[in-house]
Amino acid sequence: MSVLRRVFSRDHKVIGLQYLFLSLVAVTIGIVLSLLMRFHLVWPMAHLPFVAGGIMAPEQYLALVTMHGTLMVFFVLTTAPQSAFGNYFLPIQIGAPDMAFPTLNMLSFWLTLAAFLCALAAFVVPGGAPISGWTAYPPLSGLGEVTGPGEGIGQTLWLVSVLIFCFASLLGSINFITTTIDMRAPGMTLMRMPLTVWAWFVTAILSLLALAVLLAGGILLLLDRSAGTSFFLPAGLVANGELQARAGGSPLLWQHLFWFFGHPEVYIAILPGMGVVSHVLANFSRKPVFGYRAMALALCAIGFMGFLVWGHHMFVSGMNPYSSLAFSALTLSIGVPSAIKTFNWLGTLWGGKIQFHTPMLFAIGFVSFFVSGGLSGIFLAQPALDTVLHATYYVVGHFHLVMGVASIFGIFCATYYWYPKMFGRQMDETLGKLHFWLTFVGVYCIFMPMHFVGIAGGIRRYADSSGAAYLAGLQPLHSFMTFAAFITSAAQLIFFYNFFRSLKKGARAAENPWSATTLEWITSSPPPHDNFGGHFPSVHRGPYEYSVPGAAQDFLPQHLAPQEAGRVSEEPQSGK
């Protein structure tokens, strides 16, 4: 096959890997940005060799904040769990040869890459990257350079990147949803789909609806910046001493549009991870998922309710205080399906036969982080308490625990779990375990203290602590977190080394190294182009039939016909 055809492949597996590598590059850059931030918070006056002027200026710090958030949320957390693993494994897990619209799929990736490059370009243009955070509230982001450095072309590039990303995402969602609805193998009813497929399906619906709204809002913001409109800009603005000729817009309107997207976005970031964790916990406890139906329904409930709670980001924004109570009640309610999932994960482990392979360690870690991060959300869900915690490090700790840790652990879990299938090789278990232990301890050391900083009044997006006297007392916590951040980031090198080394040097992987039940494990590692070499499976049972009493082995693959199940022990199985 020619190089061009390989690069612009329409094979969902290649596209999935392309997304995976894109997210690996993005996460590396994102981590470097965060290390620069953490360094600056402890040594704000340090001379840095690559910074113009020697000492990092506050606007440079804010540019790091903005781009770290943007790259991580869009190009890591939205890309890896859904676009990378979902693209690779959704068709295989439902017994299909590819996605419904392979050309559209290919387009989605290249548009996402274009968006990524556009975002990176903001670093190198005059004025630098924007300083308005990944949330880009106008008027700060809506008036151009007059509000600060980076708000000129940097902000425009950022906005264009986001708009391209939205469009790419919409195309991807069409594929995921259509494929799940129309291309399932015979016998694979909705209630026999792996929970990973459920998660990708619900996430795609969220993506479809949420990114469409961001696209609309983003276009309006772009017009405000470049066409003189006033969607978000009120009259009488005096920026940098200059009266602005705008009239009648509402900054709050942006917040509503943005967070209507922004809240489902965080569920887009976590739902696939939840699916993988359920999947992996069952596999390595050798037990069915506890309450499969409730788990599937909980995914749907979280997805649906995720659209109703955006106002909890706006309790102190100037929004109607009565709406705040409504949003609060809905936000607290969304804790219920989340609690169901946590309870059921524990239930899956309970009575199991737990095997601590690396993917399982990350799955267990996910549960711990989701508990911690989810519970801290209960404070933020109440407006009276949020009034104290809003925009403090408490919020930063909360969302990092759920997104920057739990979701990332979902990605690690998926990587270790599916690596043998994708690359035909095993990752090194010892290195994997070392990576886990260091990261598990490390991230708790980085992000738990953030809650304490926040409760004491430490404010987020502050370039340093020199502005308010009371912040000095929190510096020891910052030092501790920075120290932990550097060590934990170094530990990720173990993962990268393991990942790339095992591509060539890893032990050859069998078809089903984890003795798993779902359809991706019945084909070769890696799978052939049409996923099943012409022998497409039918499905005869649910996805997590482990340790079925009376069966010869402790797992019953989904595709085995009932009369085959009894004869399983006679067939040479490619197992552990």
């Binding site: 129309d182 291309m183 479809l208 709204v213 309006l220 003189g228 009239a247």
Partner: protein, 218 residues
């Protein structure tokens, strides 16, 4: 590998058919009615409905922005004098939908000429609609009403531009079907989804037009 549970054909779909044994029935979507290898024809319809869901969400966001904005007191809000040519444009677009229905009826009756004739009429009326929209813009510009003039004008331009762009996409799709460039997708499927899209854009326009009028009259 135990292959009595496998089947060589691709009876893919909603998973209902086939619960045991080899080569279970194709469940109604055999080779003739599938698109690209393994893609059942109905997937194209599903895909288009999903895409329309996203598109409608996009316009819904713009509409709610407009409603919120409309509720704000502002020094420069004035209702827009919607150019009267919009009535004609609306009629033209409505006509194009009827032309499209006509062409599909011809296709079902296997009248190739009739199909091509009315399909072309649809495209031509679509182009005329877009020209009419551009004329409306020029009329507004001549009256000194531009994108940034006031909130109503901003939204008017945004809505008509967004809708126009989507309709342009629809025209491109009409042409693609007419000139048989969609080789991987069977024609019946392509005609079906383009028709859904076109009618949806027509309905969307009717809704937006009604909205302009209601805002103007209240």
């Amino acid at each position: 590998m135990a292959n009595s549970a496998f089947t060589e054909s691709l009876p893919l779909g909603d998973g209902r058919s086939g619960n045991g044994g080899a080569s279970s029935g194709n469940g109604g979507w055999g080779r003739e009615s599938s698109g690209a290898a393994g893609v059942p024809q109905r997937a194209y319809t599903t895909g288009m409905m999903i895409a329309l869901g996203g598109i409608m969400m996009f316009f819904l966001a713009l509409v709610s922005a407009w409603v919120v904005r409309g509720g704000l007191a502002s020094s420069n809000s004035q209702p827009l004098n919607v150019p009267r040519i919009l009535w004609l444009n609306t009629a033209i677009l409505l006509g194009s939908s009827f032309a499209l229905l006509r062409s599909r009826r011809c296709l079902r009756a296997q009248q190739e000429d009739g199909f091509r004739h009315w399909w072309s009429v649809t495209a031509i009326l679509g182009v005329m609609f877009l020209c009419g929209q551009v004329i409306a813009w020029r009329q507004l510009a001549a009256a000194g009403v531009f994108l940034a003039t006031n909130p109503s004008s901003s939204f008017f331009y945004v809505f008509t531009a967004a809708h126009g762009l989507h309709l342009l996409g629809g025209i491109a799709a009409l042409l693609a079907v007419a000139f048989r460039t969609t080789r991987r997708v069977p024609r019946t499927a392509a005609v079906g989804v383009v028709a859904i899209y076109w009618h949806a854009m027509d309905a969307l326009w009717l809704f937006l037009f009604l909205f302009f009028m209601i805002v103007k009259w209240t």
